[in-house]
């Protein structure tokens, strides 16, 4: 029998956000949250340029796409640039990311994932030490993108 628990959302998250997130994430019989459909966040991404400076971009969108089975998801970073020197923006996918959830949040992790961009794999920017969590309509991520430390924090988009 299912047990119903209330996810405590921050007061600054509107009721609509609660409704959306609740519809996107269902709890299974073990009281874990399962992501059932794509959800999108918008926020700030910071990349350490390894020259003593950080490159920060606001308004970066990432899309979380659940796999059809298992606690696996894909993180897609939309129209991102990782350096001020980049003349183009890319869509980049980080596939086969593991997640598990408690009653309050979703924990994300991954290691040695070759991202997909521009029609194929980008081994030079292999993702390592990926960790993050989704809680109260917010997401935080940190990872190594090749040799570059990258962090991201964002909020759920309706």
């Amino acid at each position: 029998m299912k047990t119903f628990k209330t996810i405590k959302f921050s007061v600054i998250i509107a009721f609509a956000v609660v409704s959306f997130f609740a519809s996107s994430c269902e709890k299974d019989d073990n009281e874990q949250i399962v992501i059932t459909q794509d959800i999108t966040f918008s926020g700030r991404m910071t990349v350490d340029q390894l020259d003593g400076t950080n490159y920060t971009v606001n308004g970066v969108q990432i899309k979380i796409e659940p796999a059809t089975s298992g606690n696996i998801l894909t993180i897609e970073m939309l129209q991102v640039s990782f350096s001020p020197k980049m003349p183009v923006k890319l869509d980049m996918k980080i596939q086969e990311v593991m997640y598990y959830s408690s009653s309050k949040k979703i924990i994300i992790s991954g290691n040695n994932i070759i991202p997909i961009a521009m029609g194929g794999e980008f081994p030079a920017y292999t993702i390592t030490n990926l960790s993050g969590e989704i809680e109260n309509g917010s997401i935080t991520l940190s990872m190594m993108c090749g040799n570059y430390p990258l962090t991201y924090s964002g909020t759920l988009q309706l």
Binding site: K85, M86, P87, V88, G119
Partner: protein
Amino acid sequence: MNIVSGKLRIIFVCNLIFGMTALPAFSQIKIDSVIVTGYLKGGILEEQLVPISKINLQKLENENVTALKGLSGSAPNFYIPDYGSRMTSSVYLRGIGARIDNPVIGLYVDGIPYLNKNNFDFDFFDIRSVDILRGPQSSLFGRNTIGGVVNITTLSPFAYQGTKASIGYGNGNSFSIQASQYSKCNDRLGISAGAYYNSSDGFYTNDFSHNDLDWYKGGGVRLRLQWIKSADLSFDNSFTIGYLEQGGFPYGKVDTLTWSASNPNYNDKSGYKRFTVSEGVSFKKNLDKYILTGIISYQYTDDKMNMDQDYTPDSYFSLIQNQKEHTIYQDIVLRSKEDNRWKWLNGASCFFKYLDMDAPVTFKEDGIDRLILANANKGLSLMFPGEEIKIKEENFVINSFFKIPTYGVALYHHSFFRYGKWLFEAGLRLDCEGSHLRYDNGADIHYLFTMTMSEYREIVTKLKGNENLLFIEILPRVAASYNTGNYKIFSSLARGYKAGGYNTQLFSDILQNQMMEDMMNDLGVHLTNSAYSAYNIADVITYKPEYCLDFELGVIYSSNTGFNFNLLFFDIICTNQQLTIFPERNSTGRMMTNAGKTRSYGVEGSISYNWKNLKLYGDYGYTDARFIKYNNGRNDFSGKYVPYAPQQTVSAGVDYTILAKNNQLLPDKIVIHADVKGFGKIYWNETNTLSQNFYTLLNGSISLQKKPFTLELWGKNLLSSDYSTFYFLSMGNSFLQKGKPLQYGLKFKINI
């Protein structure tokens, strides 16, 4: 019908038939007054207060006018530059003009309207007269007569009977032959049939292929039947078939430092061919108190243009444009018959045309590498040195299919009220035009990014849709004249209207951009400083109608001593003037844009003097046409001259006829003709930084006539003046077409 005897003197009495006053003709022809045709609006023009330049048969022959372009300057401020191909008929009148799509003048041949500008440039063949009505004629003729109307009348079997034939040869290996038979079966039936063939190697060579570039061959047939069924009813049928095939587009790249144009030098096939059928039946019915006239006509045009769109030896892209167009037109006029103070005319008009166009653009190796991939890889190569996007195809085609039905209906009325020496005119036309564009464009390519992809991926880009246009226009005109006998002072105020349309020529550019976007989206790459910012299709696909308000004030003097002149001042405010521009970036598409507001004012004068066997004539036009308001989003062109329209046109000629005494050895008559035509200054761009200065062309002919034979030696541009007829900028390159050099030839004619 009988030719009046004696030294080819045929009396030209056409006023009753065609509403014209008798021309001071060299060859005069008499016509039965009961015939009738649907000449313009059933003869109402004898009343209408419009400046008309009349070019008769003799002048056409003396000046060796073989097509409409040869009439440039023959009417003040009337200019048709000779460039491109026979498809290109850019007419300018009083600073108003159009390079593509809808023309600024209406063209009628034996009352049949040529609604498609592509058909304007046809071979003149037994043309009896050309009338050029200057100024907007929209209150009577409706759409696309914002600059005026050109009315061409062919020789009638009631006007001439016999056999006409000629054969000619000139430089450029130019050859012409024509023959026609005009017969009057009885007093009620006249039939004529004629055919011609012309060919030329042209005057330009392609440096790339070393072949003739503007070669030409064309021929045609005309049949005409005129039937006077009764004293009150008559019919006139005109049927014409024409075919032509040619090279063309002799555009040479300009060295921008020295401003000198090199010879044309491009690699892809360019040329034009056209097949046309034209059939029209007009009638005239005399009722008790009214005269009913009308015409119904059908035209079919099937043409094909090939063009190396980059005009360089490199393989960028080429265009093929196939068009098939059917046009049906009907016009009926009821006018008062009695010679009262008040005369009037009521008319109704309608047309339908259906254009089916297929215009594939083929992107070739250099175009793919330098235009598409160079831009796409510019950013990527900085990020990923050594890596690139590739396109599998060596060539690919952007297909463009268009179907454009257009229809129009109109009602109009003109009244003429005479009071003493005053004549007042008021006219109004209600014009409704609608059109629909259905477009279906697409391209299919395969691409690969070397860094991440091992196989090519297919990208299919489609652009399908519909657009509609509807214009409802009220087109008024008022005029007044005061006639003292020798002098007539007149003034008019009229509204002109030129229909809007679709920028079909821009679609390949739009699709090219769309294809780039689709490929980049598929790749997940987003260019931050894209040279391929997408067109907003809705914004660029259509352009709006153009309007003008024309004021004229003039005086006409005519005397019995052979001296005539007229002088006219005009002032035109033109709103939404349609101008052709080449879009920014590495684009080769052309588009029409509504340029805001322009003002065009100037003077026109014509003078003629006949004394014994000497005839002098001259026409001068001056136009100051400038933008009042035109900001294209990047530059403000206010105050600049409108490009491509000449500021001045000049035409001056002299004919001297030497009549010989009866002598078996000497010619009956020797006609010596010389004329000079001048045009300019012509600005080539909106910024007015490039221009063609005023230039003149000296032409002449000598003809020896020994009945029934004529031998004529003719020449054009006798001084080989160096001038340019067209300039444009494409893909950052400037191109000019040089004017034709000295042309000369010999023609032998026989009239039996």
